[in-house]
Subunit: 156 residues, 4 copies
Amino acid sequence: MMKPKNFIIDVDGVFTTGQFLYTEEGKFAKIFGPHDNDGIKLLGKLMNIQTISADKRGFGITKKRIADDMHLKLELVSEEDRLNWLKKNFNLDESVFMGDSMHDARLFELVGYSIAPASAFYLAREKADFVTSHKAGEGAVAEACLHIIDKFFKSV
Amino acid sequence: MMKPKNFIIDVDGVFTTGQFLYTEEGKFAKIFGPHDNDGIKLLGKLMNIQTISADKRGFGITKKRIADDMHLKLELVSEEDRLNWLKKNFNLDESVFMGDSMHDARLFELVGYSIAPASAFYLAREKADFVTSHKAGEGAVAEACLHIIDKFFKSV
Amino acid sequence: MMKPKNFIIDVDGVFTTGQFLYTEEGKFAKIFGPHDNDGIKLLGKLMNIQTISADKRGFGITKKRIADDMHLKLELVSEEDRLNWLKKNFNLDESVFMGDSMHDARLFELVGYSIAPASAFYLAREKADFVTSHKAGEGAVAEACLHIIDKFFKSV
Amino acid sequence: MMKPKNFIIDVDGVFTTGQFLYTEEGKFAKIFGPHDNDGIKLLGKLMNIQTISADKRGFGITKKRIADDMHLKLELVSEEDRLNWLKKNFNLDESVFMGDSMHDARLFELVGYSIAPASAFYLAREKADFVTSHKAGEGAVAEACLHIIDKFFKSV
């Protein structure tokens, strides 16, 4: 793979621990972690960063953190539409994709390079080109960013 | 065991981490995890899925997530009534049961097949037919669903 | 040691994970775990159960869970007064004490039998007669209860 | 290194787990842990303790716990200004610094002695003079305090 152009990141279970705090009123909070913003700032100078989420009910929470506070591009895309949306918007051969679910595992075969957090669902860990040592919500995105820089941009 | 008909799942400590966030006003929130909905959707085409909870005080939270948002059958059944309720409503030989407590461990001997999450109480882990590698609230139910499909429905 | 009469349990870091959720308004919530109520119900038939806490600011939260909802005896005792309070109210030789802090570690030498959760501060783990395999907030108290029954009450 | 004079501690990811609970309204809570106050009280008799944070959005939460409730000196210093601020206010040769991020890892080379929690970002763990066995939010600061006392103040 040549230098990749896009880093596409599923938010839940990658930026977050994947967990939801539920109250009687519904989804109340998600748990975001340290370091990821540091990594994104470094890699954002080299690649186009795009985040996606399939979580409709928790999208207000995701939007607040990812779009409003971290200023990242964020799109709500359902699991079913994900492959079509990715194909329409990106050259997948030039894209790195980071995800954690059994559905993400199938997308891993279609992108240039795939990354899963240490805490990903086992099928995603099995299929990913690289598995971080940090869990999601504990620095997995930051580690992925440094890994991408090391692997694809270091000899530049 | 032939193809099982029912998958009966205790909610707390299986769909959730088993933990409660308490404020001065009481039980405020429970922590639900990723992947489980993905697994349930796949297995729900093959088996009858039933969830149960003994947590009266937190039942409003459980209902919101499990019944309202995930659209699963949910019943509040106390620990004492659990065995009778199960016997009355299901043929236990045709049922898979997933639980995490010392009380669940005793039920494991009476059902067709039993599953415990990696984070279950040690007595439940010792008695279960299968222990997931994922902890509760981190994909244990999803892993259990795929395991059931692999074990009982794959040669179909 | 003969059959112990009292089981004295420090709440924070034993019934809870030891962690506090802080908002801008202060201590908002503590994290209680599964199984412990099951264990306490069994052991409560055999021993006098007493809980203590040194957490003044979070005492309203502790009281709600431990005293109001679990119906256990609870006393607010500062770290400094703890030894005197214990001596005044209990025959320490007949008491099992479960705690997790560096201060608790010093009390361990003065009681009949001492227990620490897997997640206790390292000094407490080093000094305890028994260390549970479960972490606090994940079943440590329940495991301690069953251990006490096995060790001191089984041959009865 | 002679007896150090200052213990400078980054708050997020050292006193806290590094995680943020986000609601739709933004940063709602941080997770602080047990034991750290016990350690700080012991070491505070021997050294000047200073805490710093780069988290502007969560500073109200940090201030409530660290400054108001624990009565520690706290300063909001951005990542960019951190080195200059440290140099201006402290003799770095006489200072112990505890941090968890990739930026902290670079500061480790400039201070007298450096400590990282077990849960720190991998680059910080690699560069630190000492890595605690406890994770952040689970007693890492307390362990660091006892380590400093053992290493630099014990023969006194």
